[in-house]
Amino acid sequence: MISENKLSPNYRSIALLFIGSLIGISSLFLVPNKLLGYDQGAVAQINSAVIRKDEYDRAIALFRGGKRGPITDADLNLVLEKLIEEELLVQAALRNDSPRKDMKIRQRVLQTLLTSIQTRSAVGIGDPSQSAGEDLKFYLNQLRDNADIQMLKKVSDNILVTSEIN
């Protein structure tokens, strides 16, 4: 009797864990499978990215501009397929680390960031007492302060990169 009493709480907890898991797994199938960003008007999901209805409508408007006749339903599907293909290619490029390896993309990304810093400076969003150059310096210092930068090797035989990069 004593041993039965000792074992029963163990079995009970395992049984409860098992039931809980079953409920959890079944809820996956019972809850409607909504797309990511469904509330923001997503029409399609490709891995973790979504295509929103407004993006789709913009693509349709562009397509309409380049077509002589009226838009057919095959065209509507084609535009969605093309948007999906574009997203797949974007994701493939990101997996290949193209923003770092492809110099054109790298330059464009850096230019976009620098332009946004200059624009912020020009419209006075940044510190009004600072020039665009100072804003950039401040921005870079902020990035450096929050980063984990580890020196592993000498740059050349003559010089060792200092650990205090700033």
Partner: protein, 285 residues
């Protein structure tokens, strides 16, 4: 039993979490890591080459240190751009990313050598592609008054040359069409589909009866017609090569997209697909 369940739970937590586990197997020539991303000696050397493309002298150590600092700052900005979602939201960058993917997919087909035999087989299999299309040379006059068009036509029937007859009536105007022989698709751009169809139905030296379309009436005079011609392999070698490469690239891209689709989780909102399908049904009716 409890240990097994606990391990399973742990595995599920690890797999389900969004945490990125930084592996420390950096390339052997890594100089610096920036938030776990390596900057290598070869990246520094490439940057040096970009700055001094024509110089064989090594950069001095101070400049090299400045350059490394620049690479670190660039990496910090790239990481910030990634966090801000600029890679995927900026339309210009998206376009460049797509182009980069396409280029890497078709790179192999670009450099692949093509043998003469491959080209000849391709030519034989796609002979219809390597034809010179039928061409036509013609003159077309337009009239605002259909009666004047008819009068001009009567004059031409009395063997007065086309242009002389147009000049005599002074109401017709010659449409500006190239005087050389032109293929059907080019003619369509000048005349539209209705007049092109009439022109193609005429034989050499034939003049059409007046054709009224909207507010204008036209007379077409066909000067010459050249039938479709099959180009020989030698005459079309360059075209064959270019077509072969183009189709090869297209196939490579199609295959790559099929592979990407196969490995991706793609879902279309059911109500949206339903809307598209309903539209198709309406059209069918």
């Amino acid at each position: 039993m409890r240990i097994v369940l606990a391990l399973m739970g742990l595995i599920l937590v690890v797999v389900g979490s969004n945490t990125h586990f930084q592996l420390t197997n950096y390339p052997p020539d890594t100089l610096v890591t920036v938030n776990g991303y390596p900057i290598t000696q070869s990246a520094l050397r490439n940057a040096e080459k970009r700055i001094q493309p024509n110089s064989s002298d090594p950069m001095n150590p101070d400049d090299r240190e400045v350059l490394l600092q620049r690479l670190i700052d660039d990496e910090l900005m790239l990481q910030h751009a990634e966090d801000l979602g600029i890679f995927t939201t900026d339309p210009g960058i998206r376009k460049l990313l797509v182009r980069s993917s396409v280029n890497s997919i078709i790179e192999d087909s670009r450099s692949e050598p093509i043998s003469d035999e491959q080209l000849r087989t391709f030519y034989e299999d796609h002979k219809s592609v390597f034809q010179r299309p039928s061409r036509i040379g013609l003159k077309v006059a337009s009239f605002l008054n259909p009666e004047m068009a008819k009068d001009t036509w009567e004059i031409i029937k009395k063997e007065v040359p086309f242009e002389v007859a147009i000049a005599e009536t002074k109401t017709g105007e010659l449409i500006n069409i190239p005087s050389s022989l032109i293929p059907e698709h080019v003619l369509r751009r000048y005349l539209g589909s209705k007049l092109t169809a009439v022109a193609l139905s005429l034989s050499e030296n034939q003049i059409s009866s007046p054709i009224t379309i909207d507010e204008f009436t036209y007379l077409i005079y066909v000067l010459a017609k050249e039938p479709e011609q099959q180009l020989s392999f030698d005459d079309s070698r360059l075209q064959v090569k270019s077509e072969y490469r183009s189709r090869h690239r297209q196939n490579a891209l199609t295959n790559a997209l099929t592979r990407l689709r196969k490995h991706a989780d793609i879902r279309v909102d059911q109500s949206f697909s339903h809307q598209l399908a309903q539209g198709s049904k309406k059209n069918d009716l």
